[in-house]
Symmetry: C2
Subunit: 337 residues, 2 copies
């Protein structure tokens, strides 16, 4: 008994020392490690996960949140413009949902203050899921499995769009990607990065990239002008944050995208015009920093950027509750509206 | 030591007796339990799973096998006609991929002899994924993660469509749904079904439904005429098996669909015209059996059919290897082609 106590105390001491060591070892850098998700309400997360994968939130019955924010492919769809209802061309490149809870606001122009507000957008956007909040909620209300699950989470038989978007947001808050190689390095593992990746990171800092791409998400925390030193040439019509603020100074101001998992979230920029990291780094250097990276410098920065790929959210594909007899059967090919 | 041996022998005896009891208890019925999947090559299954979820097998980069055979919704898309490339209307209701390895042949008209042959169809169908085998394979060949994984599974650097369709088929063979309540009853659990469900099953047999819907998949093992007693009225142009055999006697002959998980795979029939099980049972009774089920009889059969919902395949959502710099970036909205 005495021996066991001594062992437990020893184990405790080791744990405390290890804990302190880990905290002390985080390097003082303009980028911080991604923290694992804290799940306070697992039932709400599970409900939100189902809704995220449910195409019945769309008019056609064929488009879910996961269609454009595909969790198999870095939380984005890898298309310059997404495929919307009736194959409409999306208005802007779909940003990744991964680590989006760290963003200062949602959408490229920041018009939604948080994930809950964002979640209501695509459902009712005629070019995206093309439903309405009323139709989406009344559809869910006819699905017995959802009625039970909403009741268990929210304590009422009456489903509301507020519940739907809250559950979606709470699920999305779990979609963080900790433990990237860069984060291992930040936490003190000197072996986590090779020389080229370290060179790339030093250049990322010394060239000024880090002025906008910083914090845990390596971006996402400010709005900046696209085309600061040289104008950005594009046929795309998006005007950026001016649409929200109506201030002329906000023309071409866009939310700085996160660079977390950027290896997975091609193509790049709000118009999806840059197919590769090589092109994106070159363009950013010239337009935002007035700097032409050499081929070697470009490759070094790209090598660093690929160390930002973290652990992708891992969970079982959800199984959705079947429609009831009274649930409307969507017709993607219906004439008219 | 002696005591342990005796306990082990006892445990063994119990196991043997339990095993025998289970085998002996399978009821002698025209429907047999679904057997769990046997996985002989887990690496090939994992590869096939990734391919199943990969939209890069389509021209647009937006449609995967899982788009129309959605494993979140019973292995089908719950649409009368699927959404194909450029929002084209699918030619026939997407059958469920669940338990499809038990089918006598694949597609409604049986034109593919097995899952491997089937898998090549939609990829190259201009109205579905609208790619070609050549493009699909050459795309995969530019994705470093796939090149590594194919090499590990097939031992060669050269990806082929044969490998792609084999891996897809081997993954699909794992998509069986054992342990439905009906199977528990078949295996001797008298409590697994209630009185209404048992009445429904008796009626299912005595009315003649079981003549076509039998075996482990409760269908899928023969071709039968749609509209045997009375003609089936539909605007749909599918002619069925005659397109394969060119024999006039095969006009309107379709593969009998499995009734496993039929609760999840609405709408029903090759044209997806029946929205609910109630309608489907009524139509089948009249057209195939010349029998008008009463409301109570219909409800009993429907109650039985819902006991055929089995354990849905459970696995972590796959994470796909990112495209390389040389991988073509698909444009869903490209002119022409």
């Amino acid at each position: 008994m005495q021996k066991r106590t001594r062992l437990s105390l020893l184990a405790l001491s080791v744990a405390v020392v290890a804990g302190c060591a880990t905290v002390a070892a985080v390097r003082d850098e303009p980028i911080q490690p991604i923290q694992p998700a804290k799940v306070n309400n697992p039932a709400m997360v599970e409900l939100g996960k189902k809704l995220f994968f449910d195409p019945r939130l769309s008019r056609s019955g064929g488009i879910s949140c996961n269609s454009c924010h595909n969790l198999s492919t870095g939380g984005a769809d890898n298309l310059a413009a997404s495929i919307g209802d009736r194959w409409q061309k999306g208005g802007i490149n779909s940003p990744t949902v991964l680590n989006s809870s760290l963003n200062i606001a949602q959408f490229w122009d920041g018009r939604a203050k948080d994930l809950k507000e964002q979640a209501g957008g695509p459902i009712a956007n005629p070019a995206e899921m093309a439903s309405t909040h009323t139709v989406a909620v009344s559809t869910l209300q006819t699905i017995p499995g959802y009625v039970r699950e909403f009741k268990s989470v929210y304590g009422t038989d009456q489903i509301s769009i507020d519940q739907v978007t809250q559950a979606l947001a709470v699920f999305e808050e779990t979609l963080v990607t900790p433990n990237a190689r860069f984060d291992q390095w930040l936490k003190g593992d000197n072996q986590a990065l090779n020389m080229q990746e370290l060179r790339g990171y030093e250049l990322f800092k010394s060239s000024g990239c880090v002025a906008c791409h910083n914090g845990a998400a390596v971006g996402g925390n400010s709005f900046q002008k696209m085309g600061l030193i040289q104008p950005y040439k594009t046929a795309h019509t998006a005007q950026g944050r001016v649409d929200v603020t109506k201030l002329d100074q906000d023309r071409f101001m866009f939310k700085v995208p996160t660079l977390r998992n950027v290896e997975l979230t091609y193509p790049y920029f709000h118009d999806g015009a840059a197919d590769t990291l090589t092109v994106a780094v070159d363009t950013m250097g010239k337009l935002q920093l007035g700097k032409s990276f050499t081929t070697q410098e470009n490759a070094d920065v790209v090598a660093f950027l690929k160390t930002l790929t973290g652990q992708q959210p891992s969970f079982a594909l959800p199984h959705l509750p079947p429609s009831g007899d009274r649930t409307p059967r969507p017709d993607p090919f219906a004439k008219g509206g």
